[in-house]
Symmetry: C2
Subunit: 460 residues, 2 copies
């Protein structure tokens, strides 16, 4: 129960908090001023009289007053005693409108972009974290190389060369807080070099286009035709963002002659190719096509991420830069990636745990894709699964004019799924296509069968 403390001049209810008498008195007085119970200009009793009233040592009260003068709640002037400062009452902070809660959390989700989070290798990750933190030298915990820890850059150089044909050198790798962080740095760099346009694909993520535009670059979509992304109009741009191994979300691979042509363009014009290799680990029908970067490491920035192979929540990505860009990217600011996570991933890769996890995930996702293709063929003959057998998502072509109604029907039945239209660049010229982008990697294993069933139920 609060103890009412009457003072000589004013009637105060001081509720002493923990942390010592002086601290409690300071907090209580501050609170009284803050909430307006003590109005601005109010003269406080002398420390002697308040101390007597409260049964405290005078020094305790004088100390509390001094604290609050130092903080600006009270003023002390020779001859006029201690008063509540004029500006002390602040209008109550307005709370922002509450974030709309995810009302009616759907029972099933096929939203693409996230792997099966239930299969995140928690035990192995913790084991790697323990090993990494135990082995880390003290100075690893300080401010480090803006490119990231050398242990991780070395592990990634080996892994990327082996698994993705990337020509990687630890000196040219920059560890990022995920793909978007790397893209932001590169957009800033292009802007600083005087570029004002970045060519993008007709289909992609609006979050990426937004961040490019926030850096001061216009996004100009390349045409998308029956063979995938075409390169007409590239000459007007100084750089291009591509998903060559597995177009997101359309799911096709960039054709060999276009791979060649884009590299030729970059060489001839001094252009830069940003290669978004977001799911290069996951190809099911053959060896994955090597990274475009291997063709010309002087004109291609390779961007990879652990968001699909492990989990987005790790916020870990990497860029392999042309030599000429390393210093510029470095100058854009220190690494914002925690050292412990970097060391943990390095340990995870070098111990072989990363390969084991990716192999197991590849098998799981491949089975899901096969089941999806079979179920669609059996249950919805008007729907076609398009794109190569790769990644964590598939595009389901729908009969013309049905996309919106299928998405609405899915929502109604508790299934979250995205239509293709939301991935279409606002100024894309490609003929709109009705389709679903089905993230079959998203559900946990136990929900997969039910989710697939729910999808089939809403397909036309």
């Amino acid at each position: 129960m609060p103890k009412p403390w009457a003072t000589l001049g004013i009637d105060l209810h001081l509720e002493p908090a923990g942390g010592g008498v002086r601290r409690g008195l300071t907090d209580a007085l501050r609170d009284a001023v803050r909430t307006g119970r003590l109005a601005p200009g109010t003269r406080l009793p002398s420390s002697r009289s308040l101390a007597a009233d409260l049964g405290l040592a005078r020094n305790t009260v004088a100390g509390a007053y001094a604290d609050l003068v130092a903080e600006g709640w009270l003023t002390a002037r020779q001859g006029s005693g201690t008063r509540v400062a004029d500006r002390a009452v602040t209008p109550p902070a307005r709370r922002p409108a509450p974030t709309p809660s995810r009302t009616g959390h759907p029972a099933y989700s096929l939203i693409p972009g996230t792997p099966d989070l239930a299969s995140f290798p928690r035990t192995q990750w913790l084991k790697a974290a323990r090993r990494a933190l135990t082995a880390a030298p003290n100075d690893a915990l300080g401010y480090g190389d803006p490119r990231g820890r050398i242990e991780l850059r070395t592990a990634l150089a080996g892994y990327l060369a082996r698994a993705r044909g990337v020509r990687a050198d630890p000196d040219r790798i920059v560890v990022t807080a995920g793909f978007a962080h790397g893209l932001r740095l590169l957009a800033q760099l292009l802007h600083a070099r005087g570029r004002r346009t970045l060519a993008v694909e007709s289909y992609g993520l609006d979050a990426h286009w937004d961040l490019i535009e926030r850096a001061g670059l216009r996004t100009e979509p390349l045409p998308f035709d029956a063979s995938g992304t075409a390169l007409d109009g590239l000459e007007r741009a100084g750089a291009v963002l591509l998903t060559p191994s597995h177009q997101f979300p359309m799911g096709v691979a960039l054709r060999p002659e276009r791979r060649a042509a884009v590299v030729d363009w970059a060489r001839g014009s001094g252009g830069l190719i940003l290669e978004d290799d977001y799911d290069g680990e996951f190809r099911y029908d053959r060896q994955p096509v090597g990274a475009l970067q291997g063709l010309d490491p002087d004109h291609v920035v390779y961007l990879g991420t652990a968001s699909k192979s492990l989990a987005p929540g790790l916020r870990l990505g990497w860029m392999v830069l042309p030599p000429s860009l390393v210093d510029e990217v470095r100058a854009l600011g220190g690494s914002s990636v925690p050292v412990l996570d970097q060391l943990t991933l390095a340990e995870f890769v070098t111990s072989g745990a990363y390969d084991r996890h990716v192999r197991a995930a590849r098998l799981r996702y491949r089975r899901r894709r096969d089941a999806l293709v079979a179920a669609v063929a059996a249950r919805a003959p008007e729907v076609t699964v398009t794109g190569i057998a790769a990644g964590l998502h598939a595009v389901l072509r729908l009969p013309p004019g049905t996309e919106q109604s299928v998405v609405r029907s899915a929502t109604w039945h508790g299934l979250a799924v995205h239509g293709l239209s939301r991935y279409r660049h606002p100024t894309a010229t490609a003929h709109p296509v009705d389709a679903l982008v089905v993230g079959y990697g998203t559900p946990p294993d136990h929900a997969w069968t039910g989710t697939l069933q729910a999808l089939c139920n809403v397909l036309p």
Copy 2:
């Protein structure tokens, strides 16, 4: 030993790598093209003849050719067979000039800005990480709230209100990858609002000024006088960056009447105060002065960090925003802070491990400061330790004209220490002062006595 394989038309040394015969052949051919051993335009033997030559199945060779066509190394045209693509040979990537190694790593360091990294609570941190990861729901591993995890924002709101007098609400807290990350977001926000000037203190970190200027804002230093940072000229700026509790590096606290005046300015003009509370946990002579933010949470952004209380390598910081800024900061991009670290810090704070660590650190640093003050008084009567008893650094005033020679002498004797001049804003009008900025928090415990000795040896 590489096995020499002669083919019909060309003489190839294919060194099969691990990963299966087709993979090995693909890698070896790619390497031959890449390094120029197979020149652009060279026609390769038919898959049948190369297969016969190598003793492989024809399909294996055809598959390897197809892979390399898909990657763009080879071209296959009806009637002209398979050839090495024209653009295949890239000039060897130029390695950037090697980073200058820290030649002659100094034996002792008093560079400020880093706590004693040897005392990082590794065991407790790992324990918190294990608990946090074990308890985390699966969806915590996905893309989350751009403000950061609610567990950490709630823990911080409680801690900051209790320890620093911050008026914090989890809804208005944004978790950052350290102070610099928050400052960058705020500078971008100010720029987007049309501000072009940010007032700063005459003394501070050039890395901060640089990042403000990269966001398009001019930094304009406030005067620094005998009472610390003065506010003249503030009216020309729309916002000000301050270290009110412990000016960095000068070590004074902002005087009460100036605390009041800066809040009055912000209220009257709609200005914004960025409060950098980098070492608020460490005050040795009294209760720390509460955060300026408590006086007016609608006009002050409070910025804190775990870089001094735990370790910079964690890359963890936080901002408490006025309600009007929350959505704007959110729109600047997703949180780039790994979920596991956020959950670990939340567990660390709520379990009481953070308070225990800070209390132990406070005692350790206080002893070091006392020893520093005593040693300087005894050994260098011409030198004065200035600033309040707080934080992880002290300013040692030197006789006029001696700063550079003392820093040089220290370097010569294996002691890394910074002169005050490097912390002076290039356009500051304050009269230059000769001093050292001594980061007594930096050395590990075992090196402290030797480091202090080394410092005393070079003082005039």
